[in-house]
């Protein structure tokens, strides 16, 4: 999990995927996740995964790094998959494919959309305290993470980490976390004071949700909607994907996305 890197990608990216509307990206992500829920066909899952990765590439994000981040929470999925080995290898492969596809779609959403916009969108469906808490959390995370980083450096420089003294090192580290908790507590009180002076009355202002769709929203949105419909159709009729239909479609999508990139440059 690397929130700082993801945040950097979201704020520094200038691709047309970055500039697509939040609504379209949230909808497309919902379509991918619904597709993952509906289908148990390895070919459709691989198609969805490839679709997400092609869009990651179109957003000019580092594909390998995004894949690595999506694999990180995979331990539990692997454990879950290994528990299904008795029925053959198809089920474990499906489980891992589902994990990778859904995680990659979420990472694509958050890496191409600024957090204020994403949280603002989801905050509409949550209680006020939770929505405001999410904003405060995201903001505070980077402050605390920097503090932890400085603390660890200071600990190393002052000999707080020594070889073969695992318990002593762990104790120092835990005390550091304790100190960080105290710091976070004090900071939250100062933050409240500052916010009150600036007129905070229990309601944080969030960005307006831009309605409607633009042309640049369409490729990813259309493709994910198509894959979802295809997965539902296959499931309802008990069919399996055959031939080169999906690979051909994905190649056309890839060429189209690369073409748009070259044209825009």
């Amino acid at each position: 999990m690397d929130i700082s890197k993801i945040d950097y990608w979201a704020t520094s990216g200038r691709s047309f995927v970055h500039r697509a509307t939040v609504l379209s990206k949230v909808l497309a992500t919902a379509f991918v996740i619904s597709g993952v829920i509906v289908t148990s066909e390895p070919a459709v899952l691989m198609g969805l995964y490839a679709l997400v990765l092609i869009t990651v590439r179109a957003a000019r994000l580092p594909v390998m790094k995004v894949m690595a981040i999506s694999i990180f929470p995979g331990l539990f999925a692997i454990l879950f998959a290994l528990s299904h080995v008795e029925g053959g290898w198809t089920t474990p492969v499906i489980i891992i494919m589902k994990a990778l596809t859904a995680a990659s779609a979420m990472i694509l959403l958050i890496s191409t959309t600024q957090y204020t916009e994403v949280m603002g969108f989801f905050g509409r469906f949550l209680p006020r305290v939770v929505a405001d808490g999410i904003f405060m959390t995201y903001r505070s995370f980077f402050i605390l993470f920097d503090l932890l980083d400085h603390f660890l450096k200071a600990l190393r420089l002052r000999g707080g980490f020594q070889a073969r003294r695992i318990f002593k090192n762990a104790g120092n580290m835990a005390s550091g976390l304790g100190m960080l908790f105290i710091h976070a507590y004090d900071k939250s009180q100062r933050l409240y004071d500052v916010m009150s002076i600036r007129g905070y009355s229990g309601r944080l202002a969030t960005g307006r949700l831009h309605g409607g769709f633009a042309l640049r929203d369409m490729p990813y949105l259309f493709m994910t909607a198509f894959f979802l419909c295809y997965a539902v159709y296959m499931k309802m009729h008990g069919l399996s994907p055959h031939g080169m239909f999906l690979p051909a479609l994905l190649i056309i999508y890839f060429l189209g996305m690369e073409g748009v990139w070259v044209w825009k440059r």
């Binding site: 999990m1 879950f80 939770v130 762990a170 100190m179 976070a184 507590y185």
Partner: protein, 232 residues
């Protein structure tokens, strides 16, 4: 290991939907319980404590891919009701970065919320009998054990199938409940080796609980020395 890192699409729809409904109800109930509190004053604190949990979750212990949750210490500082709100916030943000599915947010909120609430409850009792450090350690181990069992229960329930044809005989079950008839209606997914899953989760979990208990105890000990009013 205590919360579900299960991605989207693996759990049955009825299970994660019920999880979302129950979690939302739990959050609303928690907010009702703290209605006398001036919540706007607490929002920055909730944010900071959620961020602390996220920082803890970022510190991965590489060989076993374990990370501390810091849920018990957060509950001790915030109280059990605000802890539930914090659990929802943390799980939502984690799901955003692909760490656990977005559909599993509800179930994870229940698991981590229960972990924090039990930890808080145990700490409130044990701190009268033990020093704060050991009290926090024992509370953490027990709370994590409970939440891991809860997580295992969810995974088990996810693999129980309802045999619809046999379920038509529900009248007979009610009239003459026997073990055999019950298992005709419900069956466990034969492809799923629950024992293997449970051993692996509990094996890794035990190591993780010890690490988390140690970290929580040392941090609580430090806090009680430097700023004891934070815990009171």
């Amino acid at each position: 290991m205590s919360h579900l890192h299960i991605p989207d699409g693996l759990l049955p729809v009825w299970l994660w939907l019920s999880g979302l409904v129950v979690a939302l109800a739990l959050v609303m109930f928690s907010l009702f319980m703290v209605r006398r509190m001036e919540l706007r004053k607490k929002v920055p604190l909730i944010g900071m404590m959620s961020a602390m949990m996220l920082v803890g979750m970022n510190l991965e212990i590489i060989p076993i891919a374990y990370h501390v949750n810091l849920s018990v210490i957060t509950a001790i500082i915030l109280g059990p009701w605000l802890m539930v709100v914090t659990a929802l916030i943390v799980n939502l943000l984690m799901a955003m970065v692909g760490h656990g599915g977005i559909t599993v947010v509800g179930l994870n909120t229940i698991v981590i919320g229960a972990e924090g609430m039990l930890g808080y409850l145990l700490f409130s009792i044990l701190k009268r009998l033990l020093k704060p450090g050991p009290a926090a350690a024992v509370s953490t181990v027990l709370a994590l054990a409970l939440s891991t069992c809860l997580m295992l229960f969810i995974v088990f329930v996810a693999n129980v199938n309802l045999n619809v044809e046999a379920a038509h005989g529900l009248r007979e079950i009610l009239d003459a409940p026997t073990v055999n008839t019950f298992f005709d209606v419900f069956s466990v997914n034969k492809d799923f080796d629950f024992r293997l899953f449970a051993y692996a989760a509990l094996g890794l979990g035990t190591l993780g609980w010890s690490i988390e208990a140690f970290v929580t105890a040392a941090a609580i000990k430090f806090i009680t020395r430097v700023k004891p009013d934070m815990i009171a």
